[in-house]
Each structure stands twice: as C-alpha cells, then as structure tokens.
Symmetry: C2
Subunit: 413 residues, 2 copies
C-alpha cells in the first residue's frame, strides 16, 4: 500500500511497477501510420486490451508546460510554468524555465518516494531534468537525461554508470535520444532499481519527419519494442504526449511565418516584445517558431489594448487573441508570467518575432511545429482496462496531466 497525496490529489498505485510515458510531440497520426503498417504490435494489443483515446493537453501546447503539468498533476496556474520561456517583467529579462526554481508546486515524485515507491525519472532533454528531480534525489530517487547520461552521479542524479547498463550517451538530435529513455526504464525495472517511473522523450523525430516517413515508422517501431518490454516485465503503462505536431509550411515547403513583433512595431511604433514560449536550447527542432505567442505592449504605449487586439485579430493566420486575464482563466496560466495578451495561430501557421531573430536555415527542409490549439489534443493510453469510475471520466474531458491519476487509480489492477 503506497497511497499518497500531492497537490490535493490522491494516488493509490498498484504494487506492480507503474510507468508513465510522455512521448514528446506525438500527434495521434504517428500511432495511426505505424499501427496501419503493423509496426506497433504492442501498442495495438495495449489499445485493445486496455484503453486508447484522446486527452486534452495544456495550452500553450509546449513541452515544459505540459511536462510540468503531468509531473505535478495540476495546470500552470498552480505549478507556475506556462512556457519554455517567459519575460520576467520584474527583472526585464527573458528567461528559460529550465529550472525547478520556477516550479510553484511539488511534483508527485517526492510524495511517491516517501510512500515507499522507488521513483525514477528519465528524460531525453536535460532541460527538464532539474524540474523532474525537484526534491527527489535527496529522498533516494533517480533522475537523469539521455542527453547528458554520462554526467549522471549519485549525489546529483541518484544513479551512476548508466552508460555501462544501457549504452553510450546518444546524440540529442536523434531518435535514439528517445529510445534510450525507454531502454533505461526497462533496465531500471529489470534491475529492481525503480517501480514508479516517468519516461519523457524528445520530439526531434516528429519535428523532422511526417508520420508516414520511413524514419518516423522505424522510430515508432523501436518505441513499440521498448513499450512491449515494459509490459512483459509486468508494468502498468500509461502513455500520453505533451503536444501534437503539424506541418507549418506553404505548398512550396517554406515556413509559413507571421512575424508578429515586426508587424506590431510597424503598425504602432517600436517597443512591442513578442515572447515565443517554444524557445528552448534546441532551436534546430523548430527555429524558435511555434503557434503561440505572449505579447508585451510597451509601457509607454498610449494605445487602447482593445485596439491592438482588434488589429491582431485581423492578421492572416491568427486564430485566437485573448487579453491576459481571459487567457489566464481559459488556459489556466499564471498571470504574472504572461504578456498583456496572447495570440494563437492556425494549423499551418507559426508566429515569429522579426525575420532577423530566427535562423530559418534550420527549417529549410520543412517546418513541423506546435504551440497552438491544433496541437492541443494528444493520445492517451492505459495498458489495462479502466475501472467504471475512470471509464466515465474518460468519457468527459480527461487531461494529459491526469496521466498518473489514471495509472494509479483508474484500473482494477
């Protein structure tokens, strides 16, 4: 019995090993394409013997926002991370939210560890490690990234010599960076080092390849093999994604960008600051271009906000424009880490700052990205049948950050 509570939610995990997986950028189409070609036999069985549906992710549909929501079980209004990147008005600095210092709520992991579980968290991107590890290592838990697996040490990561057990440090710009995360999970269960795991991959492959591309199919086949190993080891597995992924390009393959900061400065005069919360250390994935922006109006501006909002609403490719208060309420975001308003763009459109700000050469071969409403819905799978209460919950509006709730409380295991 390892019942525990975190952020007002109660978790009652079965004694079996449990594994929550966040497949970064995994639009449902990736599963569809691989399943139709027989490349994901374990996922196919899992979806029949367990549950497969959609969950609503957290807006904006970015990595840190959604991973932080999944590991805390609450939205950004409570945990504080509403983007990969924000503008701190107090200091006047643009900062990346790659640190646990931005978290305003504990993750569920220390509580699980205290309840007697052996917790391990493995991420592809090292940028997430510090957030996932908050409060965990000192309790005996494990947290490391495949990106910097060679740096893992007992006092900082709760584990050492991972490369000897799992394999050499993979390149972050590869599918292997993600496969490695799942391989590490298999090894941690096999060796009895962990029985409560969170495995979070990276979306390099999804940014670079469409679902039916041979490279994507091979990648999903390899993911499936590892998912199968986890199930064979007796784990109860739940799978979701942080966000989907869509092509954001014109028919000629060039990126379909609305440079919002340039447009605003041209229209209303200089000083507008457009924050693109997709921004992270991995610009090669997306060139810093996503379908969501926070806009800070210059303090000196004498314009009515409603006038600016109406102007932005009319721009081609813009789908939603919400003032701070409305966006904070509808998207459950922390108002003090937002701009004066937020903007979403369409399924095939990204928002940029200025042409000079972005290095478009990294997306010259095609831009696939996320951040908006069309990447909000994500797959949601549990490897065992749902019990009656959670089957009813699934026929409502399940969220991707209900992942551990469904794994721990949602089956009769």
């Amino acid at each position: 019995m390892s019942l525990f509570t975190a952020n007002q939610r109660t978790y009652n995990p079965p004694s079996r090993p449990i594994v929550g997986i966040c497949l970064d950028g995994c639009a449902d189409e990736y599963f569809d394409a691989a399943l139709a070609r027989g490349q994901m036999p374990h996922l196919q069985r899992l979806s029949v013997s367990g549950y497969r549906g959609f969950a609503r992710g957290q807006m904006p549909s970015f990595t840190n926002v959604n991973n932080a929501s999944i590991v805390t079980g609450v939205p950004p209004r409570i945990h504080g991370i509403g983007g990969n990147y924000f503008y701190e008005t107090a200091t006047g600095e643009e900062v990346m939210t790659n640190s646990a210092k931005f978290l305003r709520a504990p993750t569920i992991f220390p509580a699980a560890q205290r309840a007697g579980r052996k917790v391990a968290v493995v991420t592809a991107k090292d940028k997430l490690r510090d957030i996932f590890a908050a409060g965990l290592i000192e309790l005996g838990g494990i947290a490391f990234s495949s990106e910097r697996v060679s740096q893992a040490a007992i006092n900082t990561h709760g584990i050492v010599n991972v490369e000897a057990a799992v394999g050499p440090n993979p390149n972050i710009y590869s599918g292997e960076a993600s496969i490695y995360v799942l391989k590490a999970g298999v090894k941690l269960i096999e060796t009895g080092q962990a029985d409560f795991l969170y495995l979070s991959t990276t979306d390099f492959m999804q940014h670079k390849f469409a679902p039916e591309a041979p490279e994507a199919l091979e990648f999903y086949s390899a993911l499936d093999f590892q998912i199968g190993q986890l199930i064979i080891l007796g784990a109860l597995v739940g799978i979701t994604a942080d966000h989907g992924m869509n092509a954001k390009q014109r028919p000629d393959g060039s990126p379909n960008v609305l440079f919002l900061e340039s447009t605003l400065n041209n229209e209303f005069g200089p000083g507008f600051r457009v924050i693109l919360p997709i921004t992270d250390p991995h610009l090669i994935h997306h060139g810093g271009l996503g379908s969501f922006a926070q806009v800070h109006v210059p303090a000196s501006s004498k314009l009515e906000l409603s006038q600016i909002l109406e102007f932005v609403r009319q721009l081609y490719g813009v789908t939603e424009v919400l003032d701070q208060a409305t966006a904070a309420r509808l998207m459950e975001l922390p108002p003090d880490r937002m701009g004066d308003f937020v903007v979403c763009s369409g399924r095939d459109v990204v928002l940029g700052r200025t042409p000079e700000w972005h290095d478009l050469s990294v997306v010259a071969e095609g831009l696939r990205s996320h951040g908006g409403r069309y990447e909000e819905m994500v797959p949601f799978l549990i490897s065992e049948p749902l019990n009656a209460a959670y089957a009813a919950k699934a026929h409502g509006d399940p969220r991707n950050f209900d992942l551990f709730d469904f794994i721990c409380n949602g089956t009769n295991v």
Copy 2:
C-alpha cells in the same frame, strides 16, 4: 476527359468511377478502435497504399454546414448554409436549412454531369437530399436518401425501384440507414448507373455509441465491407467526415448543459434568443444540444455588446465568444444569417436554450454531440497515393471540403 469548373475551382476527375464519402460524425477514434481490432481491413490497406490524415472541417461542426461545404467546395460565407437552423431576422422566423433555396452557390454536381459524368448522390438523411439534388435531376443525375428511398421517383430523384435493387427502406434511427447509402453506391457503380458519386451517411450510431462499443465496431466493420466493394469495383475513393463526436456528460452520465438563453435572460432581462444550429428533424440523436450557439440580443437592449460578451466569456464551459463580424471572418460564415455573437463550449459541454426547450429524456442514456472546436478535426483519406502537389497540400491545412479536389486532382490515377 471530363474537366469542369465549379465555384472557381477546377476538377479533373480520372475516368474511373470516383466516390466521395462523408461519414457523418466520424471522429477519428472510431477508425482507431475498429482498426486496432482488425475490423476495417479495407480501410487499413487504403490508409497504407493511399493517404490517411486529418482535415479541418468547417465551423460550426454541424452536418448541413459541412455537407454543403463539401458539395460546393467552398465555405459557408459563399454557399450560405452556416447551420442546420437559423433565425431569419427579416421574417422573425427560425428556419431549418433543409432546402436548396438556402444555397447561394451551385454544388459541383451539375457541372460534373454536364462534363459527361453520371452523377449520383445518396444521403441517409432526407433533409440533405434537396441541397444535394439542386440542379442535378433535370440534367439526368440521381439523388435520393435511404431515409425515404421508397419515395424515389424518376422525375424527382432520377431513379426508381431502389428498394428492389438495394433492399427495403431502413429505419433512420439505425446503423443500416448509413450502410444502405454505401450499398446503394456499390449497386450504382455495378450497374453502370453512376461514375461520380457522393455518399453521405448519418451519425445516429456515433451519437449513441462510443468508439469501442460493440455496436460501433460492428457498424464500422459493415462500413468497411462496403468501402472494400467500392475499391474492388475500381473506384477511386475519398473519405472524410462532417464533424467529430465527443461525450458531453458529467461523470454520472447526465448531460453537461449550459442553458445559455435562461442564463442571459436571468442576467440581462428577457428577449435573448439563442439559436442552436444543431437543431434538425432528428432530435433523438442529440436532444438539440451541441457545442455552438448563435445569440441574438433583443433589439430593445440598451446594453453594450462588449459587456454581454464579457459576461458570457466568464461562464463555466464556454471556450470562445466572438462578435458577429469576427466569427464571420474566422469561421467564414454568412453574416446575414448569424446572431449578434457566437459561443463555443468545451469538449464535454453543450449549450442549451432553456431547460423547458429540450427533452432530455432522449439523451438519458448518455449524450454524445458536436458543434464546437473539439469536433472540428476530421479524418481524411484517399484510396490512392497523393501526387507531389497534393502531398504538399496535405502538409498544410487541408479542409474536408477539399474532398472532391483531392479525389479529382490529387492523385496520378
């Protein structure tokens, strides 16, 4: 060579029979559930040898809106049908858009027939027949519904004795009403009566059964058999949906309704008129409850519209509130057939008028419905590989009303 033009778009169909299918209410999850259980072998092959992805449907995500868009190839701003139902301010009447008289653009069918194709349109719901048949019968085309197949006559439908060929008139409240539509398509091709078909089903089954329900699986298996027959006959087949489908209920199974007209009249005084454009002759499907509303403010009102909009934005379950002009632009709707503003509700929430207006007993066993953004994205499949130009187009923002464009122009057939 049967190249033709309709509504500024050019269609160059191959000489093979071509079939456009609109599977009413077919959220992608229905395919996923049936495919994972091996119940749709033809669709599985089609999705590998051809193309499977998502298309963006037309908002609001209702049947008449989307069917009218698919058969004209243009959005409601041009073809005029922005709901199943609207309030005609000129006459003060609430009217159903079940007649071609509401169409402001021709369908593509007369042009196809004039170009030498043998056009046949089969729909489950008779309410759509008049729209689909506009200008077609007099040119020698065929249009009938499975709902009233026994009434089909040469001078009104272009065909007679359908029951003798296809089977007895099915009940509209059944899966057979939809299967019958596909069976009729198979028969029309087999007998050489048609080589350019549009087959449009009804969503009774999707309103009543979740994707993994045995009834839904059996239904999709039967659909798949008929899709297979079409392909075996040599047809080039394209499949999409008018809208998705989500459970709109509380965990106890009761419908999750926001009674918007009552709420507005309570807050601001009487006279608000809430139009629910899901309303059609088949209330048993959904009780008139969907996730989209047009709101008419009383002419006598002295309130600022912005004040009303802000009030509605704060209501629990509301996700989008747009004034008429903004909604007309973003959703490409005809402004003269709209209210003063539109409201969308969440994935699990429907909008109602007043408790008295709706007979909730018809949805006592569960409410599944549509109309909002969470039913906007729909499956999109073409039975042959896309050519280079359309593969690029598919990696953009393809619309469900591009169906005949993709079928006619999108492959190398």
